[in-house]
Amino acid sequence: MNSFKFPVINPLLHNELRLKIMVALDSLESANFMYLCEITDATRGNLSIQIKTLQEAGYLQVDKSGSGPAARSVCRITRKGHDALLTYEQGLRRLFTERVPDKETQQEFKKTIK
């Protein structure tokens, strides 16, 4: 019997761009939209959608100043977001370092991340 237990993979962070945004903001106090665009190599539209998703999940706090084309968004990671990222990273590290015994459990793992 296999005693290996899979860590729960957060589906919100199981996306390259969302993960990039979260890691960047976790290393900073705050960053504006243009900086995130540059550092993640993402398009504005895509970045905007992913930020909104993370904001709705309570992982990011977005402060907007001004209106119209000159509006500026400043993003910060919340405590909930920081904890989620930490759990996600720990889960990944555990998966990477611990031995996954057989194909059956691998199939099970694949199901959890879909």
């Binding site: 290393s27 900073l28 990944l92 998966l95 990477f96």
Partner: protein, 204 residues
């Protein structure tokens, strides 16, 4: 390597790469912060010395007000400009900023209360010099910039010289604090400025 390990390896690669990218681009710093507080501090202390020694005026005791009056608007302006230029603020620079705001407020209270209590000539310059040296030392530790840490230590040690300049010699304490400000604020400010410039030109 199993499939799941390959997958996790890729994800961990993304995390590490992003962290490295963000940390490698931390070009905003306390550069202006040091110069912004350093030059007004030197100027005000030299003015205090001149007012006392040359003009023999007693309003010298309130000239310290000029430091926050000049420093705060300049600091706000440069911080805003820095943020607009880089688009982000690091955790380190935020901690350093909060610490210097605290030191600035402590200096203002120090000037005010030593003036009222009549002990301005005795301890104001010593404590002020010690605060500047400590602030510089701690900022050096936070930003992992050794020259700043060294300058902070030199500044703190120099501040003790003020304790030996009492009685008729006390106006010379202002010159000591001016020297401390040059060593602990202006020199590290210029050193970081040069370092950041070199770092940015190397990266670009």
């Amino acid at each position: 390597m199993t499939n799941s390990q390959e997958y996790t390896h890729q994800e961990l690669e993304i995390i590490n790469r992003m962290r490295g990218k963000v940390m490698g681009r931390n070009e905003n710093s306390g550069v202006n912060l040091f110069m912004v507080w350093g030059y007004p501090t030197v100027l005000v202390f030299l003015l205090e010395f001149a007012a006392l020694m040359i003009l023999q005026k007693h309003w010298y005791e309130w000239l310290w007000v000029g430091i926050p009056l000049l420093g705060v608007p300049l600091m706000v302006h440069f911080q805003r400009k820095d943020y607009e230029r880089t688009g982000h603020r690091t955790l380190d620079s935020n901690v350093a900023l909060q610490m210097w705001i605290y030191i600035g407020a402590a200096s203002a209270f120090l000037g005010f209360f030593t003036g009222i209590a009549g002990v301005y000539p005795v301890c104001y310059c010593f404590i002020q010099g010690l605060l500047i040296g400590m602030g510089s030392f701690l900022t050096g530790i936070i930003s992992r910039f050794r020259p700043m840490t060294t300058c902070g230590i030199i500044g703190s040690v120099l501040s003790f010289a003020c304790l030996f300049l009492q009685g008729d010699l006390w106006p010379w304490q202002f010159l000591i604090v001016s020297v401390i400000s040059v060593i602990a604020l202006i020199i590290p400010g210029h050193l970081i400025f040069r370092y950041v410039k070199q770092f940015n030109s190397f990266n670009s």
